[in-house]
Symmetry: C2
Subunit: 156 residues, 2 copies
């Protein structure tokens, strides 16, 4: 009988650990290509549809435009993307892939690699149950947060 105290587990903590682990897996995978996960997220949007605006990318990635702004500075420095003011409404800025950015589009499926590792030990039944449960949790939080803060993607 070892002295062990059982605490009600913190789901939030478990989610943080898992989320962090998933980020690490992604970062490890991307390291060889010298892009960060945050940059990959932006690129993954542009690979699907080039020329998106900063605010669309902000919604897509779940980060504030302020964060995007600086991220795009670095991505522009590294010649992954290029910003172009929109003719007609110069408040908007279109973000376009450079040749170099386009050339990395084979990394589009990176997340499948991460999925594979995360789901490695779950059987088919479990996998089928997991998604709906995570979705339900997301909706609970969304509902709770109505009138409050927006959801935010957190990774690093």
């Amino acid at each position: 009988m070892t002295e062990q105290v059982r605490y009600l587990p913190s789901i939030g903590r478990l989610l943080n650990v898992l989320s962090g682990a998933a980020c690490d897996l992604a970062e490890d995978y991307l390291r060889a290509y010298e892009i960060s996960l945050a940059q990959w997220v932006v690129l993954s949007a542009l690979w699907r549809k080039d020329g998106l605006s900063v605010s669309v990318l902000s919604d897509y990635s779940g980060k504030k435009t302020a964060a995007l702004s600086r991220l795009l500075d670095r991505m522009e420095e590294r010649e992954l993307v290029q910003r172009l003011a929109v003719e007609g409404d110069k408040r908007f800025v279109e973000v376009h892939l450079t040749e170099k950015g386009q050339g990395l589009s084979h990394l589009m499926d990176m997340y499948k690699h991460v999925n594979g590792i995360l789901l490695a030990d779950l059987d088919e039944t479990e996998k089928e149950q997991l998604l709906p449960m995570l979705e339900k949790m997301r909706e609970s939080v969304l509902r709770h947060g109505e009138g409050g803060q927006l959801l935010r993607e957190v990774c690093r």
Copy 2:
């Protein structure tokens, strides 16, 4: 028949969103007490056992000692904790709760509030399934990461 493309969902992304949402819930809850979630994590360790060293707190919170070092600077400024060099081995620094830090110990159960919201829409069966599945995923990643990076808690 709306034009809809089904993508294989990214579990990592879903985990990030959920983890971020959980962090937001916690931060919202703590805002009134003017402590951050990172600070709460440190305090929650000290409420259980006061006088832990920086490296123990680092393991506990899943952050590097560098991050702890600076976090503790602010917590000391705000008079939540106090650092004391250990007699006998002066490399170690013990972190002790101040009266103010101790006085917040009723926040120990904050995570239950977050759990409650996250799990609001899951029935008993689902709740029973969730934990083991998340644990399995954590183990898959841990196993994968052996010889590589350590797990890291990511929140903000």
